[in-house]
């Protein structure tokens, strides 16, 4: 082995042998790192899940370009713009279809216990095929009948167990706003911050439910391009054509716009960042305590090593190695436990919690830095190991 590698390997081995010697202390240190790890994973997981769920509706639309009112901050509270913009977009040869989408909130009466709750209504032309909701395709014909809706099966349970009722009695009558509607089937959209539950319906039925709205205004226009058309070029041309009351965005831009609202316009982003930071600080204190007491209880031995000619640098690398070993040993079970918790908590909260590689790498980097910081703090205690005081 090269001398340069020895300068890293030998302190690492010394640190490992020292950690391994005291099983109970090692276990508590690993538990501390694991705790921090799980806390950070859960915070980041919730954060991503909430942002994902907030933009799930927009992400499930199958279109290339969208028109939206510039004042719209979030899709659950849209500003309207003239329906004529959809027709204008059709003037471009590369535009194959421009489909108006209508969104509004109204109250839904729980068919089981009669309680009322705000529900998001999504209306669009059933023929256009811009919505990719699972379960929608077999319901298209039924939804063309007057006063019919499809219920989002991933709505929160407070809306009532519509799936069970449908299974028992088939399509049945429900109440949306002041209207009687027929629930003809289930689709999957997903609850979000802005909407606990969703109902999907045709353009015509949406107008019948929202009689106080001006019929010539829309909330969103989804544009599909002819096959092979260049999206970015089409966006640039639409921006030239459209007046100032609409923004032209690609789907990723639309999703990012929605996320930016939740991230910056609400305290949600801060809350989860703060939670993660607290987890890291607690973890750092635990690791620091373990390393510090390890050094404090072995001061004579460390001083002896210094008397034998070991440098401060070698002993510092040993302490740092111990910190980084704890990072690795705590991260692995922390990752496993978080994986399990994602599945359990995701089921309980209806949030799309999922582990992904980028987040795992990111959390490992955070835990690694946390342990390194604790190691650097604990290293200061090495100064107390003075070999001149040994005699």
């Amino acid at each position: 082995m090269k001398p340069g590698l020895n300068a890293l390997f030998l302190p690492l081995r010394l640190a490992w042998r020292q950690l391994r010697a005291e099983k109970a202390r090692l276990a508590s240190a690993i538990a501390g790192v694991m705790f921090a790890c799980v806390l950070v994973f859960m915070q980041l997981g919730f954060r991503a899940a909430l942002f994902d769920s907030a933009s799930a509706l927009l992400a499930s639309m199958r279109a290339d370009i969208f028109l939206m009112q510039p004042l719209t901050t979030a899709s659950f509270r849209p500003e309207t713009f003239p329906r004529a913009r959809a027709s204008q977009a059709l003037a471009l040869p590369e535009v194959w279809a421009a489909v108006p989408i209508y969104m509004a909130q109204t109250t839904w009466r729980n068919p089981e216990n009669g309680s009322r709750r705000a529900m998001q209504l999504i209306g669009f032309d059933m023929e256009a095929g811009v919505m990719g909701f699972p379960g929608l395709a077999p319901l298209l014909e039924a939804l063309k009948r007057p006063d019919t809706i499809a219920f989002d099966r991933r709505s929160r349970p407070e809306f009532g167990n519509v799936a069970r009722l449908l299974a028992e009695r088939g399509p049945f009558q429900g109440q949306l706003g002041n209207h009687r509607v027929e629930i003809v089937g289930l689709v999957e959209v997903g609850a979000s911050f802005g909407a606990d539950g969703n109902a999907v319906m045709s353009e015509v039925n949406f107008r019948r439910l929202t009689t106080n709205r001006v019929a010539t205004t829309v909330d969103l226009v989804a544009i599909k391009l002819v096959p092979g058309a260049n999206r970015d070029a089409a966006i640039a041309r639409l921006r030239q054509v459209m007046p100032g009351d609409v923004m032209v965005m690609s789907q990723p831009q639309l999703v990012a716009h929605e996320r930016a609202y939740w991230e910056n316009g609400t305290p949600i982003g801060f809350i989860f960042a703060f939670g993660s930071l607290m987890g890291l600080i607690v973890g750092m204190v635990i690791v620091y305590q373990i390393l510090f007491s390890d050094i404090a209880s072995h001061l004579r031995e460390y001083a002896t090593l210094k008397a034998m000619g070991y440098s401060n640098g070698f002993l510092g690398r040993a302490v740092l190695s111990a910190a980084l070993l704890l990072a690795v040993l705590g991260f692995i079970p922390g990752l496993g436990l978080s994986w399990v918790l994602y599945a359990v908590v995701g089921k309980a909260t209806f949030l799309p919690l999922a582990m992904d590689a980028i987040r795992a790498v990111g959390v490992f980097a955070l835990i690694f830095s946390m342990c390194a910081a604790a190691g650097f703090l604990a290293m200061r205690k090495l100064r107390d190991a003075n070999p001149a005081d040994m005699f």
Binding site: M1, P3, N6, L10, R17, Q18, R20, A21, E22, H298, R300, E301, A303, T304, L305, K306, A307, M308, G309, Y310, S311, P387, A388, M390, F391
Partner: protein, 238 residues
């Protein structure tokens, strides 16, 4: 005089600074010849331990000359002192072995500082060293499974394993009973004589005075008696 392993001339040392300065060593002259075993005795507070830490490069020299194994320590940098310590074998009052390492690994720790040794080479040499202190069969035991005398013998093996040019020992028998204390010191003497390594040993223990080539007594920071011989004219070892 330059060829002497230890050559101390006109050494003064004080703790504290300014008005608070308290001198502990005054005008010390001391020389160790190759292979010579010197005992340093004297009441507590006489400065013998401070002298040992100065010679061991564990403290910075303030005034006077202190040359150890050819390295002048007056004005020496921290890195020079660390490098010199690698060429000195230390034995302390308590064994100070690392509790989480086996006896053999503890001895090998002294060898990890030497360049050009493989792990197998280090362990083989540590094992041979343990055999020469009579613990060849206890190499895989942790210190807590050894007796006090055995632990101090491991410490002796550790101090000698890296082929030091000088052994410094501070009350190595203080924590041991008469029998094992005497055994450890005689073992140390025999191994040092075989290798021609000089020893400077601080002790209160009258039972081990017989191992010395020369006894130096200190009082109030001065050398008061050098066993009939002058400090500048030591008899070579043996």
């Amino acid at each position: 005089m330059d060829t002497m392993p230890v050559a101390v001339r006109g050494l003064n040392y004080s703790y504290g600074t300014g008005d608070m300065a308290r001198p502990v060593l005054r005008d010390i002259d001391l020389t160790l010849a190759p292979g010579e075993i010197v005992l340093l005795t004297g009441p507590s507070g006489s400065g013998k331990t401070t002298l040992l830490t100065l010679i061991g490069a564990l403290r910075a020299v303030q005034q006077g000359s202190c040359a150890v194994l050819g390295q002048e320590l007056l004005g020496a940098k921290e890195a020079q002192r660390v490098a010199l310590r690698r060429r000195i074998g230390f034995i302390f009052q308590s064994h100070n072995l690392l509790g989480f390492l086996t006896a053999r690994q503890n001895v090998a720790m002294a060898l990890e500082l030497l360049p050009g040794l493989t792990e197998a080479g280090r362990l083989a040499r540590a094992g041979a060293m343990l055999t020469s202190v009579g613990l060849g069969d206890r190499g895989e035991d942790r210190p807590d499974r050894l007796s006090g005398g055995q632990r101090q013998r491991v410490a002796v093996a550790r101090a000698l394993s890296a082929d030091p040019g000088l052994i410094l020992a501070d009350e190595p028998t203080a924590a041991l009973d008469r029998q094992s204390g005497g055994d450890v010191v005689r073992l140390l003497r025999d191994l040092a004589k075989q290798r021609g390594v000089p020893i400077l040993l601080v002790t209160h223990d009258p039972r081990i005075l017989d191992v010395a080539d020369r006894i130096v007594a200190m009082e109030d920071g001065r050398i008061v008696q050098a066993d009939g011989r002058t400090a500048s004219g030591p008899r070579p070892g043996g």
